[in-house]
Amino acid sequence: MNSSVIEFAGLTKKYGSFTAVDHLNLSIDEGEIFGLLGPNGAGKSTTILMMLGLTEPTFGTVRVCGINSTTNPVEVKRKTGYLPEDVGFYDDYTGFENLIYSARLNGIPDKEAKEKVKYILDRVGLSEEINKKAGKYSRGMRQRLGLADVLIKDPSVIILDEPTLGIDPKGISEFLELILKLSREEKSTVLLSSHHLHQVQKICNRVGIFVGGKLIAEGDINTLSNKLFSSDPFHIEAAIRQDEKVGSPDIVRNELVEKIKQVAGVHYIETFNDTFRISCAEDVSGEIARVIVESGVQLIHLSGKEYGLDDIYNRYFEQNGNSN
């Protein structure tokens, strides 16, 4: 099971004096969904291009399923499906014809191809639009067609470059569901790049954070947040509603903040009007709730917050900014 399918070894790409990818070492296991995260221009796309042999690394190697992408790109492309950032289709062809063409390029005999294309279009939810010209497809539909194009060769590795870009929220969650489902059913390894953290967080087993061509952290989201926020790993959010009769809202709030600060384990508290964000060393939400209720204001909600990728991301950027 845990054999690595994608392996980067010291992968570097330079454009003149600019280093787009800097000594990338990473291995991705079979069946994993790996999220490559980073801001625009971090080198995610370049990395993907090198995986497919569409551009040559300055040095270092990429191996996909044990095959060197630079020296034997055709073999790699046989096993790898790639959905580019902004996938394009031949506008005068219908979705069906576009996929038939891809099937032919993959050497699938025509008879088999027709059935397969129909089946795949059904899976990605485009069976209604099968005879519509690809030029008339919406962005979300094109993305689905792109996924179908990837699936036509039964890939063991699926690479998705910014798959959620430009689709509406509902479309995004549907699309990600689809990827998740497919990866589970087909047991294929998925590598997806994104700068959208929330979306990726939902489906990735593991993420790598890519900034300025360097992989600065990798691991599952819990590991990452623990690594980063080791001093106060717990985050509690509380919202209150004040009764006008008790006293001036500001005074009451400040008193309350002082009280909460005295709870053992609380390190830091931020207020946004009537919402508090509390960082603490251990889970003391019960204690905080008691303090708030005793002070005579209403507690509207209290929730323990886990660190999301956003926080991780921001934290890294802060660190990066500081070090520069």
Partner: protein, 353 residues
């Protein structure tokens, strides 16, 4: 003495040896090659798609009809004055069938002039958006992610356009010949037929030069409009401005009246060389030589050379020999453009978005 049975036994033994020892090796080798090969026929699949795209595109339909119409018009105008030509000619030696392609009654230019004028436009129009449109529509990176070699794309573009052009020019040539046979009632002699075939092949070579040039521009320029305009600019420069340039240079370099005949000769050769290096000049020289068999040389002719020659037509082999440099030049120019576009396409990084 070996009997027949001996020989057949030996044959059998050899066959078994072949089947047992050699055949498996061959099969294994074939199997291995199959694994390493690109999906069989991926290149042909691409060529087929490109060909059908060309044929179905409005651009090709329009250009094709323009060319068909103008060429038919020119043939009709050639036929107008044909009866006089037949009367004046004596027998087969005059190659009057070839006049279909060269003659005119003055209202319209002749067939081969039209072809040399519209051919480049056709070549440019079929290649100028070959690569950049795919790039702009982001289909290139998607297609490249399928198991195909990168060069198949540019090769398929070239081969498909060339195939369409070839079919079209052969069709055109045969239509003209057919019309000629119907109109004048005399079939072409084999030599005339071969000359027309050579002319068609030459035309395809010439147009494929412009095709390659425009494919090169389509690799270089991201905007199809830029690439089309650069193609047309080169065409205009070569057909109009270059000859002006040559005449300016020629005037500047003209020897004085006192110059020796050798100097005059050298000067003539210089001017001549400057003019003849153009693809369009090469094409028109080659076509006139092929279609007008009485042309005996393309260079300057001195009185000594003319002395004692018989005013007769050359056989096809000799005509081809005269235009061999032109044909080589056209092929070379065409290959040069293709190599340039091939190299710059292979070095290109294919990104989407």
């Amino acid at each position: 003495m070996e009997t027949v049975t001996d020989i057949s036994n030996r044959m059998k033994r050899l066959t078994t040896i072949f089947n047992k020892r050699i055949l498996p090796d061959i099969e294994r080798e074939q199997e291995r090659q199959k694994v390493n090969r690109v999906a069989p026929g991926a290149f042909m699949v691409m060529v087929k798609k490109e060909v059908s795209d060309h044929i179905r595109s409005w651009r090709f339909i329009i250009l094709f009809s323009i060319i068909i119409l103008t060429c038919l018009g020119s043939v009709l105008s050639a036929l107008q004055g044909f009866s006089d030509a037949i009367k004046a000619s004596q027998g087969d030696e005059s190659f009057f069938f070839l006049r279909l392609f060269t003659a005119t009654d003055g209202t319209l230019p002749s067939f081969f002039v039209f072809v040399s004028f519209l051919g480049p436009l056709l070549g440019i129009s079929m290649g100028f958006d070959a690569i950049n449109t795919e790039e702009n529509k982001n289909t290139l990176s998607r297609v490249m992610s399928h198991p195909i070699h990168r060069d198949s794309i540019i090769n398929a573009k070239f081969v498909s356009a060339l195939a369409v052009l070839s079919v079209m020019f052969f069709l055109l040539g045969f239509i003209v010949m057919g019309m000629g046979i119907i109109a004048i009632g005399i079939p072409p002699t084999p030599e005339e037929f071969l000359r027309v075939i050579c002319f068609i092949i030459l035309t395809i070579l010439y147009v494929s030069f412009w095709l390659n040039l425009s494919i090169f521009f389509s690799v270089k320029f991201r905007q199809p409009a830029t690439s089309a305009l650069s193609g047309i600019a080169v065409w205009l420069f070569l057909t109009v401005f270059y000859s002006i340039l040559v005449s300016v240079v020629a005037k500047a370099a003209a020897p004085s009246e006192m110059a020796s005949s050798q100097q005059v000769m050298k000067y003539q050769q210089l001017v001549f060389g400057m003019q003849k290096i153009l693809p369009s000049e090469m094409f028109s020289d080659a076509t006139t030589t092929l279609l007008v068999p009485t042309i005996r040389t393309l260079g300057p002719l001195t009185a000594e050379k003319m002395y004692g020659t018989l005013p007769s037509a050359l056989p096809l082999g000799q005509s081809l020999l005269i235009v061999w440099p032109q044909i080589t030049g056209l092929v070379a120019a065409s290959i040069l453009c293709f190599v340039l576009s091939y190299i710059s396409f292979m070095k290109r990084e294919i990104r989407s978005g």
